[in-house]
């Protein structure tokens, strides 16, 4: 039977959200293919995880529980992974990993070992046919069924690219965290659990983790914030972020984000960056200030429930996907917003309720 295999990442015995997101995405692909959905989880004292993974959509959980796997290290995890694939009668049709620092560290090693294709940082996945007609490489010409469509933004271009590699299985991809949707937890789901052997070689154990310093960084707040106020190149200076912070502080559970250009200009730390090379966020409200809305930024935030854009250029791409926009000078608009928000005391900012409309009296 065809198999879709996902890598279920965990740290300290806790599944990363991307593991369940991958199961959600993998379930759809497996159902389209008539395939089974399996996942591999590695770590130490993680016997509580398989039931969570089955409830999240897995038909089969491969588990490798070993002290040497407690903290992620490239080569031990690589070894267990490639040994697992070698033990299968046929390789999985598809393998998915999250585009986390771990997934981006591990996936290319496995793909290179297997000499197969790998598409980075996908934002959409699908299954479909593909006919290769280009005579430049005659060995590839033909009609292929059940191809993985790995879809990702084409960098620096306002395009999405559909990338395929149907010539060899597994067809591999890494998937951006916070993009795919996890399935509702179903504890009644049935699935199998299979322990897999951990046979490490001496050369797998050369690298030693000396220390892990847990950082409570801004990035954590960014992922969990209900409201994100982001500043871009249009701010013109690092001082502009003072205003962004002030606007953010008008909201409960808020955080400050930024575009890549503002980070590259040295106005704010990389931890605040939203987009292709930064964080993916989906807050209830995203306010983009002086951000043009290039695809690199967009892929990190366009799943936000409500997007407000403030930009002086009415033709800026951000207005093509924002829900609300104000055209004008952010240095005039933001102070006015702060003032109006602060004047709106709890009594006259009433709960919106079903109508979803706020009556705002000054």
């Amino acid at each position: 039977m065809k198999q879709v295999l996902i890598f279920a990442e965990q740290t300290a015995g806790e599944l990363r959200p991307v593991a369940l997101e991958l199961l959600g995405a993998g379930r759809q692909l497996a159902d389209k293919l008539g395939a089974s959905l399996s996942c591999v989880v590695m770590g130490h004292t993680i016997t509580h995880l398989p039931s969570l993974l089955i409830a999240g959509g897995a038909d089969l959980v491969y588990i490798a529980d070993n002290p040497a796997l407690e903290t992620y290290r490239t080569l031990p995890y690589r070894r267990v992974f490639i040994d697992l694939i070698a033990s299968m009668e046929e390789p999985p049709h598809i393998i998915l990993l999250g585009s986390t620092t771990t997934g981006r560290d591990l996936a290319p090693r496995i793909a290179a070992y297997l000499e197969t294709g790998l598409t980075a940082d996908c934002t959409e996945l699908d299954i479909g046919p593909y006919e290769h007609t280009s005579a430049l490489d005659p060995t590839k010409v033909g009609l292929y069924e059940n191809c993985l469509y790995a879809i990702r933004p084409s960098f620096g271009e306002s395009l999405k690219a559909r990338i395929l590699g149907p010539w060899k299985n597994p067809q591999m991809a890494t998937v951006r965290p916070s993009v795919m949707i996890a399935l509702p937890v179903d504890t009644a789901r049935q699935g199998a659990v299979q322990e897999i052997p951990v046979v490490l070689q001496a050369e797998d154990l050369g690298l030693v983790v000396l220390e892990t310093l847990r950082a409570v960084s801004e990035s954590v707040e960014l992922a969990k914030a209900d409201v994100i106020v982001s500043g871009g190149y249009g701010l013109g200076s690092t001082e502009g972020f003072g205003l962004i912070h002030e606007l953010a502080s008008c909201f409960e559970n808020s955080a400050v984000g930024s575009s890549r250009k503002a980070v590259d200009s040295g106005w704010i730390a990389h931890a605040h960056q939203v987009g292709q090379t930064g964080k993916t966020v989906r807050p209830k409200l995203y306010i983009a200030c002086g951000i043009s809305g290039a695809i690199q930024h967009r892929v990190g935030m366009d799943k936000s429930a409500t997007i407000i854009a403030i930009n002086r250029d009415a033709n800026a791409p951000i207005f093509k996907f924002a829900h609300y926009g104000i055209v004008g000078d952010l240095y005039q608009i933001i102070p006015e917003m702060i003032q109006q928000l602060k004047q709106g005391t709890p009594s006259n900012i009433s709960k919106a309720g079903e109508a979803n409309v706020l009556t705002y009296t000054l």
Binding site: T74, T101, R104, L106, P108, R109, A112, G117, L118, A120, L136, D137, T139, Y149, A150, S154, F155, G156, E157, L159, K160, A161, R162, L164, G165, W167, E203, G206, L207, V209, L210, E211, T212, L213, A215, D226, V227, C250, F251, E252, Q276, I295, I308, F319, F321, A322, H323, Y324, G325, I326, G328, I333, E336, Q340, L341, P346, I349, K351, A352, L358
Partner: protein, 273 residues
């Protein structure tokens, strides 16, 4: 000690030149630049020269103009360079690129550390470094922020989502450098003078910058370029609009537009009490 640094020339996306009406990039017309992520890798490699007396070799794969970034690297203090330049490399994906670079590294000789940028701004995959490490069968440290070398070991700090990790890694190894690492220092006067000398003196240039083909590095052409790439870009599509029409406020007074916006939208649950 031998340090290699892998660098790439990419289109300058902030420049308007070379951007077609449909949003694609015309690489022939676009302004070219050193991949910004590689600046951090270059600085890390030069650090091994300053601190440990390493010989630093810059390696690039690309069409003839890519020699510009090798000059740039030499101006910063790199000792020698290898330029893999071959038409048969066109349309390489990451697997084929890693294979070609693997053979180039082998050609360039023994190494202790290979530094790569985290990713490139044109491909943005972050895959080539680890794929190269796999081919070389050495360990890797990705997302490296800072490091020191102690005898035959690398002590490195790497950044992950859950915090900073300190690892000890045997040499030789591949290191991909995070963009939170040290910024590239200025070009050195000696380096700049050396570049001027190389641009004038062809014999010396050919000694310092080796331009090689697939045959020179003994790479199998079938595993390179289009033929050696298991993935292809099958289709591209314009990114559509989402969320329907944007409710746009413009051309009115600031307070009218802001109150219009705040009236239209439900913020009650989100505002700080």
């Amino acid at each position: 000690m031998n340090s290699f640094v892998l660098i790439k020339q990419v289109p300058d996306q902030s420049a308007k030149a070379g951007v077609n009406a449909d949003g694609t990039i015309d690489r022939a017309k676009a302004k070219r630049m050193l991949n910004p992520f590689d600046c951090f890798a270059l600085e890390a490699a030069l650090q091994t020269k300053r601190l440990y007396g390493a010989t630093v070799t810059a390696i690039t794969m690309g069409p003839p103009p890519a020699i510009e970034i090798l000059y740039e690297a030499i101006a910063h203090g790199v000792d020698r360079a290898v330029h893999l330049c071959d038409r048969r490399l066109a349309a390489s994906d990451t697997l084929a690129t890693a294979y070609a670079l693997y053979n180039t590294v082998r050609y360039a000789g023994a190494f202790d550390l290979v530094f790569c940028g985290l990713q490139t701004t044109d491909g943005d995959t972050a895959q080539v470094g680890p794929q190269l490490a796999e081919r070389l069968q050495v360990p890797q440290v990705t997302y490296c922020e800072s490091f020191e070398v102690q005898r035959d070991k690398l002590i490195a700090r790497r950044v992950t989502e859950s915090g900073t990790q300190v690892v000890e890694c045997p040499l030789p190894s591949v290191v991909t450098v995070a963009n939170s690492a040290h910024r590239l220092a200025y070009k050195t006067l000696r380096g700049v003078q050396r570049v001027h000398q190389l641009q004038r003196d062809e014999v010396e240039r050919n000694q310092v910058i080796r331009t090689v083909s697939l045959d020179d590095i003994q790479a199998d052409p079938v595993r390179c370029g289009l033929k050696g790439s298991p993935t292809i870009v099958a289709a591209t599509e314009k990114v559509g609009e989402i969320g329907g029409k944007c409710v746009l406020f413009q051309g009115k007074s600031i307070d009218t537009m802001v109150s219009g916006l705040l009236t239209d939208i439900s913020l009650a649950e989100l505002v700080q009490r």
